[in-house]
């Protein structure tokens, strides 16, 4: 029962605030805040799905770093209100919305088709130890590549962001 309530509330909040990101035309900052709320509700869903480590990571990285970066840029550029990046293109909006709503109507039954029962999982499932164990054995190479990717990202961000490079 508790689980049901938690699921429906966080799913609802996640979807509403996600819609808020899209619909918040006036204020970019509010869109960013809506994004945080989506991230947090998704983290709740992750923990509900026994993915505790990933759920905390979601809060740490997405809410704690990525969206802060968004806020940082929004404030640095000082985008207040709707003075920058106004959104005027009614035709595309209507077409896009219809398209997406149509696709969703198609998608929902499609996804609900695959009913399968939850299997029992041990208490180890999704813990830091279990994830770490898998990550450093089977997925070692992927982990290393993620490291190189971060390095490339740092170099790239510095090249783009720095005022002057010599």
């Amino acid at each position: 029962m508790t689980e049901q309530v938690i699921f429906y509330v966080s799913a609802f909040v996640a979807l509403i605030s996600a819609a808020g990101v899209v619909l918040n035309v006036r204020n970019t900052l509010y869109a960013a805040l809506c994004l945080v709320i989506t991230m947090l509700s998704l983290a709740v869903l992750f923990i509900l799905l026994n993915a505790e480590f990933i759920g905390v990571l979601q809060v740490m990285v997405y809410a704690g770093a990525i969206v802060v970066l968004f806020l940082f840029v929004i404030m640095l550029l000082n985008i207040r209100g709707g003075d920058m990046g106004a959104d005027r293109q009614p035709v595309l909006k209507v077409i896009g919305t219809l398209l997406i709503v149509g696709a969703s109507v198609k998608l929902v039954p499609l996804l609900s088709e695959s009913r399968r029962a939850w299997p029992e999982v041990g208490p180890e499932f999704g813990t830091v130890r279990a994830i770490g164990g898998t990550l450093y054995t089977d997925y070692l190479l992927a982990f290393e590549i993620a490291g190189v990717l971060l390095l490339a990202g740092i170099v790239g961000a510095v090249v783009m962001g720095k005022q002057r490079i010599d």
Partner: protein, 386 residues
């Protein structure tokens, strides 16, 4: 994560920390700064002539803050302006949930764990929650519709993102040593002692049980196993706390008061309270990870209980042990708080670029080096042991 009967007790203690420690902190801070600046501080508030060595100041502060007019600047964002201090304060309070301030005790058929939520990913929880506090400060700067506020907000965002990296990475060495992220497990692990010279025996240089090898025993506290990580982590945490010498987001000589320039009354008070609670949380976390948590050095829990039960019976022995452990924990916390005050009032404020340099060019490389050294150390010790 089952909810036990100990929750009310835990919550009570937790409330005490937030509501008693935080006001007391203001007094400690004033006294400490007065002491260090060679003046008499915090001695004006009095009720009917009773000054109580300045202990009345927190009460006076509270009355002042609550009765002050609460203003929202013109053109500011009323909603965010109100939400910001709450967002800044709540994470600090709830992050205490995973810090154990005592071990596990059996008394009268019930089990008492002195931690509100014993999570598998305990330390990560604190990191995650602490990173949310950033929003309060950033939004405060934004919602004030004030250029200084905005600058303060930008500085907060930059500083937080920078130091979170060093904070996370410097803690990894501790995770490697204890093999867990759960703070209670770390607490239990730190009750052990190790023989500093044990390696000579394992290498076969002397026979087993040589008296001088047994002599020097050191508690397995994080600070002894990871001395570098202790200082790196403490520095990163203090920077995350944004108090002097890392208070560039406020920097009253540069940007007046930074993100809370437009705050008054209890909203302003909340920011301050948040910071003080954070100081307590930092000290609690450092204690749990590096200073052996609740454990009394050279006296493991079970030995203590065993010793006490001969006099007062099992139940009371557990209760006494619990009291001793909680007292030990808070003693350590107080020492750490005092240490932070000492730093705060000794070191002048860094410049913006110095703070960034310290984070990226000193803390981060050192933390990474610490991970490598720790890994090598674990490998070598593993080899010697076998």
């Amino acid at each position: 994560m089952e909810v036990g009967a100990y929750v009310p007790v835990a919550l009570f203690l937790f409330a005490v920390i937030a509501l008693v420690f935080a006001p007391l902190m203001t007094w400690v801070e004033r006294k400490q700064s007065a002491l260090m600046q060679d003046r008499i501080g915090a001695n004006r508030a009095d009720i009917l002539g009773i000054k109580a060595i300045g202990l009345l100041h927190p009460i006076a502060d509270a009355i002042k803050m609550i009765t002050k007019e609460d203003t929202v600047p013109d053109g500011g964002d009323r909603l965010l302006h109100t939400l910001a201090p709450i967002i800044a304060t709540v994470p600090a309070m709830i992050s205490f949930a995973v810090i154990p301030y005592g071990g596990s005790y059996q008394a009268w058929g019930a089990e008492w764990d002195l931690v509100v939520a014993d999570l598998d990913y305990g330390v990560l929880y604190i990191f995650a929650v602490a990173s949310l506090a950033t929003y309060g400060n950033v939004l405060a700067g934004w919602a004030s519709n004030n250029n200084w506020g905005m600058l303060g907000g930008i500085r907060v965002a930059a500083q937080m993102i920078s130091y979170e990296v060093a904070m996370g990475v410097s803690a990894v060495g501790v995770f490697m040593i204890f093999g867990t992220l759960r703070l209670t497990d770390m607490g239990f692990a730190q009750q052990e002692t190790f023989r500093l010279l044990g390696f000579v025996e394992h290498l076969g240089w002397v026979g087993a049980g040589t008296w001088w090898v047994e002599l020097i025993k050191i508690p397995m506290w994080g600070i002894f196993l990871q001395p570098l990580a202790f200082f790196l982590f403490l520095t990163a945490l203090m920077a995350e706390n944004k108090r002097a010498p890392f208070d560039i987001p406020e920097g009253e000589s540069e940007i007046i008061a930074g993100y809370f320039i437009e705050y008054s009354g209890m909203k302003f008070g909340l920011f301050y309270m948040g910071e003080w609670v954070e100081v307590v949380v930092i000290s609690g976390l450092m204690t749990a990870m590096f200073l052996g948590g609740w454990s009394i050095p050279y006296l493991p829990d079970d030995v203590l209980v065993e010793f006490l039960r001969h006099g007062v019976g099992l139940n009371m022995a557990n209760v006494l042990a619990m009291i001793a452990h909680v007292a030990t924990f808070f003693l350590k916390v107080i020492v750490l708080i005092w240490f932070q005050q000492l730093i705060r009032w000794s070191v002048p404020r860094f410049r913006y670029d110095q703070v960034m340099n310290l984070g990226w060019k000193i803390l981060l490389p050192l933390s990474l080096a610490n991970i490598v050294i720790t890994g090598l150390g674990i490998l070598i010790i593993g080899e010697i042991m076998n």
